[in-house]
């Protein structure tokens, strides 16, 4: 056996145990590393922004066709009147334009079809402009399509926050309650093991796994969806560490007395479920009534997610997310103090 000094330190041994127990539990790896990525991939694909479709229309005369081709979003085909009618009926084109006496234009389309309505607007605009209409108000477009404002950009910080909460609370809760139930904890305190090392080993293991966890999810987001991280990496690290510590303390509190896995998982779900819903993981927490907002903002998951969004998407500094950091700090202190008071080793 290769013996190194640091590895024989009880804290190193205890932390190694945490890692081994984690790596040797395939389900845990799935839920912590793979599930959030799958979720991000699935939702990112479902809500991806498609390039605007080009609408197919037909024109019955060459002049009309020429006018209509001025509009880039229209794909214009010149057809005979009969062929155009046929193409419209079979859905090959959304609309066709035909001349009518006196230089007027007739648009034929189905007004219950959004594509038809859109084609009508675009076609009419093109025809009027070709006929010499001047727009009295100058306008230009600035498109909302750049990274940072899509749904996936909103979603990823939410998933990251949810993951920080889940892995800390589950990781802490199950391991501690399981050790208590099996009397392993009692066996450990029958040795000279310094008790705070036991708790510290959970925190250390959590922080080390955090690097992988955050790295995998953000790396995936950056690589596949170009989700930006605009704030500094150091600030991101501080945010994630503080969030994870606050949730770990909450997990410790939940696990401080529970004697069975069932009791613990009931408690954990009771604590986490409301936050999954109201803290703005998948949709903005602003959608809940104003009266609830102060309470929602006081939740640790809301604080983490709001801070992560501000940091990643707007490049906010730690000073700009100070209220959220404050909320997390209070949760950390209160949960940890209570947990130490309530904790049972057997």
């Amino acid at each position: 056996m290769s013996r190194t000094r640091w590895a024989d330190h009880p804290l190193a041994q205890l932390t190694l145990v945490r890692f081994r127990e984690f790596w040797r539990e395939p389900e845990a790896i799935f839920w912590v590393f793979i599930f959030p990525v799958l979720l991000a991939a699935g939702l990112g694909l479902a809500f991806r922004n498609r390039p605007p479709d080009v609408l197919k229309i037909a024109a019955v005369t060459p002049e009309l066709a020429r006018s209509l081709r001025q509009e880039k979003l229209l794909d214009v085909e010149q057809l005979s009147a009969a062929a155009a009618e046929e193409a419209l009926r079979t859905g090959k084109v959304a609309l066709f334009a035909a001349p009518s006496p006196g230089g007027a234009v007739v648009y034929r389309y189905d007004d219950t079809n959004p594509e038809g309505r859109a084609a009508r607007m675009l076609a009419d605009q093109a025809v009027e402009r070709a006929a010499g209409r001047a727009d009295p108000v100058a306008s230009s477009d600035r498109l909302m399509r750049e990274p940072g404002s899509r749904y996936i950009d909103f979603l990823l910080p939410g998933l990251l926050g949810m993951n920080l909460m889940g892995s800390a609370i589950w990781g802490m809760g199950f391991a501690i309650v399981d050790a208590r139930r099996k009397k392993l904890m009692k066996r450990l305190i029958a040795t000279p093991m310094p008790r705070h090392y036991y708790l510290l080993s959970f925190v250390l293991a959590r922080l080390l796994l955090l690097v992988v966890e955050v790295g995998v999810l953000l790396g995936f987001g950056a690589w596949v969806f170009q989700v930006p991280v605009r704030g500094s990496m150091l600030d991101l690290a501080v945010l994630c560490v503080l969030g994870s510590l606050a949730f770990s303390a909450l997990g410790l509190l939940i696990a401080s007395r529970a004697q069975t896995i069932e009791a613990a998982s009931g408690l954990m779900n009771t604590v986490m479920m409301p936050m999954w819903i109201v803290s703005g993981v998948f949709f903005s927490a602003q959608r809940f009534p104003g009266a609830l907002q102060p309470a929602i903002r006081a939740l640790p998951l809301t604080a983490v997610i709001d801070a992560l969004r501000a940091h990643m998407l707007q490049g906010a500094s730690l000073a700009q997310v100070a209220p959220q950091l404050g909320v997390l700090g209070v949760w950390l202190l209160v949960s940890f103090t209570l947990a130490l008071k309530l904790f049972r080793w057997r």
Partner: protein
């Protein structure tokens, strides 16, 4: 062990512990001398585990005094933890760790002690050192638990039912280990349900019932205290009808004789006098002896006589 300072390795004085509805330990007195193996015997619920866990500093007593290695838990807990080896009645070590990982973990808590691999070899788990704890058999798990108790090179070993649930061979392997530890001059306090185990391993035993020690001494003393030391059984074959049982009762040292279907069972105090006299008497009566067995009275018999109950319900 230095007899200089404290006179006993463990002193338990007027110990009391009550749970909500039961008094688990009720004014217990106990003294374990340096270098001896002391056995706590008693039926289920007698208070053995409660007693041993109070001595291990894991449970707080309601009242009474406990002194281990001349120290008290209130003052010297850290030092005591370094010097005691503990095996709990029911501990499930982490199933996902291997044997060597588990022992290294426990080793890391102690200032001194043998290398993890030495202890593993000692408990004969060398072949299993890389196996997951979850895949070990019951006997192997017990030996691993013992390894975790031995890894700090303890002066005093607490074993709570170390062989319960093991097959005879695994039990004998564990006995050998405990005997080796004893030979090194260390002190042991153990609980057990098995009388043969106590008789083989323990220098002295205490029999506990309802939280009290109802008898204490060497196994021999306890057995002697009930009067009959030996049991003699023989078959008198077809000639049983002719056997004069009252003549057997008159033999010196015979306490009681019972004859059933030609099998005779006698309680005897002095085997070396009673057996020759018995043979002479049978010879005189002309009864052919087809079978003769003797066995010593056991702690089991002691317990039955003291409490009117059996140690184990079997």
């Amino acid at each position: 062990m230095s007899d200089a300072a404290p006179k006993a390795a463990l002193c338990v004085c007027n110990l009391r512990k009550a749970y909500k509805d039961v008094v688990a330990v009720d004014g217990l007195e106990l003294e374990v001398r340096w270098g001896e193996c002391f056995g706590l015997l008693g039926p289920n619920g007698a208070g053995k585990t409660t007693t041993i866990e109070i001595c291990e500093g894991l449970t707080a007593a309601d009242s009474g005094d406990v002194e281990v290695l001349g120290m008290r838990w209130s003052a010297d807990a850290t030092e005591l933890r370094q010097r005691l080896g503990i095996q709990l009645q029911e501990t499930q070590l982490s199933e996902k760790l291997t044997v060597v990982e588990t022992v290294r973990l426990f080793r890391s808590f102690f200032r001194r002690g043998p290398e993890a691999d030495e202890v593993i070899a000692l408990v004969q788990l060398g072949e299993k050192r890389k196996s997951r704890v979850g895949s070990l058999s019951g006997g192997q798990k017990q030996r691993l638990a013992l390894a975790c108790a031995l890894v700090g090179d303890p002066e005093f070993l607490f074993l709570d039912e170390p062989t319960t649930g093991l097959d005879p061979q695994a039990r004998r392997q564990l006995w050998d280990l405990i005997e080796q530890f004893k030979l090194a001059g260390r002190t042991i306090l153990m609980t057990t349900h098995y009388m043969d185990e106590a008789e083989r391993l323990c220098d002295r035993v205490a029999i506990m019932d309802h939280g009290k020690a109802i008898a204490a001494g060497t196994p021999r003393e306890l057995i002697a205290s009930i009067g009959a030391e030996h049991l003699v059984e023989f078959s008198a074959g077809g000639a049983a009808r002719a056997l004069d049982v009252s003549a057997l009762r008159r033999i010196e040292g015979v306490r009681e004789v019972r004859a059933e279907n030609g099998n005779v069972r006698m309680q005897v105090t002095e085997l070396h006098r009673a057996v020759p006299a018995l043979l002479d008497e049978l010879d005189r009566q002309g009864v052919p002896l087809t079978e003769l067995r003797t066995h010593s009275a056991s702690l089991e018999d002691v317990f039955v006589i003291l409490t009117g109950r059996h140690l184990r319900d079997e």
